[in-house]
C-alpha cells in the first residue's frame, strides 16, 4: 500500500482512511451499545437538567421574586445566561457557514457537531427570555398576531421584539442548515442499517436520498446559499442582542461599540465551547484521526484572534468612557474595576484577556489537556463578561439613592445549572443517535494533502 504524502500540507484526516473506513468509523458509535462513559455523562447531565426543571417550575408557580432581583437590578442571571448561550451558538454557524465560504476544508470534521451545538445552545438561550417574564404564560403577546384588541400589535422599536425575531430566525435557519447537511449521511446510515426499525426511521428522515448527482448539484447550490445567508445572520443576531443594551440609556449599557464587541465575544466563547466539547468527543468516541491536533490548533488560532478583538473592545470601552467626559459613564467603568463587583470584572479580564495569550505558543496549542483547561477558563470568563456588563452597570446608575446590590438566589443558580444540563443532555443524545461527523463532507476532503493514485483497496 503505497501512500505519498504532500510535503506542503499534512492531511486533514489521519490514518490513511478509505471511504468505507470513514463510514464505519463515524457510524460505529451509533451501532454499538452506549459506553459506561456515555451513561455516566448522561446521568450527570440529566440530573442537572432535572434541577433546572424543578427550579423553573418553582419560579413559574411562585414569582420572579424567587430570583435575587430588585427595583434597581431588573436583569442579572436570566439575561446573562441568555446572552451567554446565544454567544455559544455562534461558533457553530461560524464553522459551518463562514469557514465554508472561506473554503476552510478542515471544518468538515467539526462542523456537524458544531452546528448541533448551535441548535442546542439556541434552545437553552431561548428559554431565558421567556422564563424571565413576570407573566410567561402571556409570552405570546410579543408575537404580532391579529387579535381582538384593536388589533393591538407589538412595539417594533423594542430590541426585545428584535430579539424574538432574530432568535427564532436564527434557530430555524441553523436547524435547516444542519438538517440539509445531515440528509446524505442519514441516507448512508439507512443503507447500512441492520435492523428493519432503524432502516424505517432513517428511511423516513433521509427524504429518499439516493446520491443522484442531479440532486447533488442543486444541493451544493443551496448549501452555498444557506452559508451565504447564515453568515450575515449570525452577525445580525448578536448585534441585535447587543442592542438590548446599546439602545438603552443606562451608563455601561449605552455603548456604540457593542455590536462588533459582542459578535467577536460570541465567536470567542463559542470556539472555546466547541473545543471543550470536541476534545471530549475525540477522546470518548475515538475520533482522534478526524479531529486532529491540526483542527485543535486552527481553533486555538481563531480564539487568539477573537480574544484579541474582545480585549481590544475592553480597552476601547474604557478609553471612550474616560475620554467622553460623561460623569456617569466614567464612574460606571471605574466602578466596574474597583467597585463592589470588581471581583467579577477581574475574573473576566484574567480569563478572556490573559489566558488566551498562551495560545501563541505552538506547544500549548498542541497540548490537549492545556487547551481543554484554557477553553474552560474562557467559557467562565465570557459568562462573567455578560454578568459584568448587565448587572454591575445596573447596580449603580444615575441616582445614588436608587443604588443597590445583587446576589443570586439558589433558584437562579439551579436554573443556570439546569441550562447546562439541558445542553449536555441534548448533545449526548445527538452523539448517540446521529453521525457526529459529516461523512459525506469528510469523504470529500479525504484526498486533501495526499497524492491520490486511486489505490484505495
Amino acid at each position: 500500500m503505497s501512500e505519498v504524502y504532500s510535503i506542503l500540507r499534512e492531511p486533514l484526516i489521519g490514518g490513511n482512511k478509505t471511504y468505507n473506513d470513514v463510514t464505519n468509523d463515524v457510524c460505529s458509535p451509533l451501532e454499538r451499545k452506549p459506553t459506561i462513559a456515555w451513561w455516566f455523562a448522561f446521568t450527570i447531565s440529566f440530573t442537572m437538567l432535572i434541577a433546572g426543571v424543578i427550579s423553573v417550575t418553582y419560579l413559574l408557580t411562585t414569582g420572579i421574586g424567587t430570583w435575587g432581583l430588585n427595583n434597581t437590578i431588573g436583569w442579572a442571571f436570566d439575561i446573562t445566561n441568555f446572552v451567554f448561550w446565544i454567544g455559544i451558538g455562534h461558533a457553530g454557524t461560524l464553522i459551518s457557514a463562514i469557514l465554508f465560504l472561506f473554503r476552510q476544508k478542515w471544518r468538515t470534521s467539526v462542523n456537524r457537531s458544531a452546528e448541533a451545538m448551535t441548535i442546542f445552545a439556541v434552545i437553552c438561550a431561548g428559554i431565558f427570555p421567556i422564563i424571565h417574564m413576570g407573566r410567561p404564560w402571556l409570552a405570546f403577546f410579543v408575537i404580532p398576531y391579529p387579535n381582538e384588541r384593536g388589533p393591538l400589535w407589538v412595539n417594533f422599536r423594542s430590541p426585545l421584539v428584535w430579539d424574538m425575531f432574530a432568535i427564532s430566525t436564527y434557530f430555524t435557519i441553523s436547524f435547516v442548515f444542519w438538517y440539509v447537511g445531515l440528509i446524505p449521511d442519514l441516507a448512508t446510515i439507512r443503507d447500512r442499517a441492520q435492523s428493519h426499525f432503524k432502516r424505517k426511521i432513517f428511511g423516513f428522515l433521509s427524504f429518499g436520498w439516493n446520491g443522484s448527482n442531479r440532486t447533488w448539484s442543486h444541493y451544493e447550490k443551496i448549501y452555498l446559499l444557506l452559508a451565504g445567508l447564515a453568515t450575515p445572520l449570525v452577525v445580525s443576531v448578536h448585534t441585535i442582542v447587543s442592542w438590548d443594551f446599546a439602545t438603552s440609556v443606562i451608563p455601561g449599557w449605552h455603548t456604540t461599540i457593542f455590536p462588533p464587541y459582542f459578535v467577536a465575544g460570541a465567536v470567542f466563547s463559542g470556539f472555546a465551547m466547541v473545543l471543550t466539547l470536541m476534545l471530549i468527543v475525540r477522546k470518548v468516541l475515538r475520533f482522534e484521526e478526524y479531529i486532529t491536533l491540526h483542527h485543535v490548533e486552527s481553533m486555538c488560532k481563531i480564539i487568539i484572534a477573537t480574544g484579541g478583538i474582545v480585549s481590544m473592545a475592553y480597552g476601547t470601552e474604557y478609553f471612550i468612557a474616560l475620554y467622553s467626559g460623561n460623569e456617569y459613564e466614567k464612574f460606571t467603568f471605574i466602578n466596574r474595576a474597583l467597585g463592589p463587583y470588581s471581583w467579577s470584572y477581574w475574573i473576566m479580564v484574567s480569563c478572556n484577556v490573559i489566558s488566551p495569550q498562551l495560545f501563541w505558543f505552538r506547544k500549548i496549542r498542541r497540548n490537549v489537556a492545556l487547551v481543554f483547561l484554557i477553553s474552560i477558563f474562557i467559557n467562565i470568563g465570557m459568562w462573567f463578561e455578560r454578568f459584568v456588563i448587565i448587572t454591575t452597570s445596573l447596580t449603580r446608575d444615575y441616582l445614588p439613592a436608587s443604588w443597590d446590590s445583587y446576589s443570586p438566589t439558589s433558584i437562579e443558580i439551579a436554573t443556570l445549572v439546569g441550562s447546562f444540563g439541558l445542553f449536555l443532555t441534548l448533545f449526548l443524545l445527538f452523539a448517540r443517535f446521529l453521525p457526529m461527523i459529516a461523512i459525506g463532507e469528510v469523504k470529500g476532503v479525504l484526498s486533501y494533502g495526499r497524492k491520490n493514485n486511486g489505490e484505495h483497496l
Binding site: 478509505t18 471511504y19 468505507n20 463510514t23 404580532p144 384593536g150 388589533p151 393591538l152 400589535w153 407589538v154 412595539n155 417594533f156 422599536r157 428584535w162 425575531f165 427564532s168 430566525t169 430555524t172 435557519i173 435547516v176 446524505p184 439507512r190 443503507d191 447500512r192 428511511g203 423516513f204 428522515l205 433521509s206 427524504f207 429518499g208 436520498w209 439516493n210 446520491g211 443522484s212 448527482n213 442531479r214 440532486t215 447533488w216 448539484s217 442543486h218 444541493y219 451544493e220 447550490k221 443551496i222 446559499l225 444557506l226 445567508l229 447564515a230 450575515p232 445572520l233 445580525s236 448585534t239 441585535i240 442592542w243 459525506g440 463532507e441 469523504k443 470529500g444 491520490n452 484505495h456
Partner: protein, 176 residues
C-alpha cells in the same frame, strides 16, 4: 415505456469524473451519476447547467423584506398608531433589524423547500438505490442503451483506464 440501462460502478472520485467526461465525449446518453458525496467537476463532466436556485433565493428574500417592512410601518402608523417614547409613528430605522431577519428567514427556508420540491424529496420517500454502496463508497454511472449501436465491449474498453469494478444491464420499468 421501459429503457435498457447500463450501470457502471467505480471506486474513486477521479475515476467517476473522468469516466463520465469520456462517456459524454463519446456521446453516450448519461442518465445520472450516483456518488456518496458531492464530487467536484462532476457537474460539468455530466454537462449539467448551474442551478437556478440562486434567483429563487433572491426573489424570496426580497419578498420577505418588503412584506415585513410594510407590515411594520402599517401596524405602527396605520392600524393602531401610538406614541411610543416620543418617536415618530413609523420609525423606519428601528424597523430595519426585523426586516432583515424576515428576509433571511424567507430566503433560507423558501429556497430549501423549493429544492426539495424540485428534486421531489420528502420525508419517508422510498429511496431508489441503483447499486449497493451508492451512499458509502461506490460511484455509479448510469448510461442509457438508446440505439442499436450501443455495444457493451466498447463501453468496457472505454472505461478500462478508470478501474471499472462492475457493470450490469438493467431494464428500467419505472418512469424516470
Amino acid at each position: 415505456m421501459s429503457r435498457r440501462l447500463l450501470v457502471t460502478v467505480f471506486e474513486d472520485e477521479l475515476d467517476i469524473v473522468n469516466a463520465t467526461r469520456t462517456a459524454r465525449e463519446n456521446r453516450y446518453n448519461i442518465v445520472d451519476v450516483y456518488t456518496p458525496f458531492a464530487v467536484h467537476g462532476l457537474d460539468e463532466a455530466m454537462g449539467l447547467k448551474p442551478s437556478k436556485l440562486g434567483w429563487v433565493c433572491f426573489a424570496l428574500g426580497l419578498a420577505g423584506a418588503v412584506a415585513k417592512l410594510w407590515f411594520q410601518i402599517w401596524t405602527s402608523s396605520q392600524s393602531w398608531p401610538v406614541n411610543v417614547g416620543g418617536k415618530p409613528l413609523s420609525s423606519v430605522p428601528a424597523f430595519v433589524p426585523v426586516t432583515f431577519e424576515i428576509m433571511v428567514l424567507f430566503a433560507g427556508v423558501g429556497t430549501v423547500i423549493t429544492f426539495f420540491a424540485l428534486r421531489k424529496l420528502f420525508p419517508g420517500k422510498k429511496p431508489h438505490i441503483v447499486y449497493e454502496g451508492a451512499t458509502n463508497n461506490r460511484f455509479i454511472l448510469v448510461l442509457e442503451q438508446s440505439d442499436a449501436a450501443f455495444d457493451l465491449r466498447n463501453v468496457r474498453t472505454m472505461f478500462e483506464p478508470f478501474n471499472l469494478v462492475a457493470m450490469e444491464e438493467r431494464i428500467d420499468k419505472e418512469k424516470k
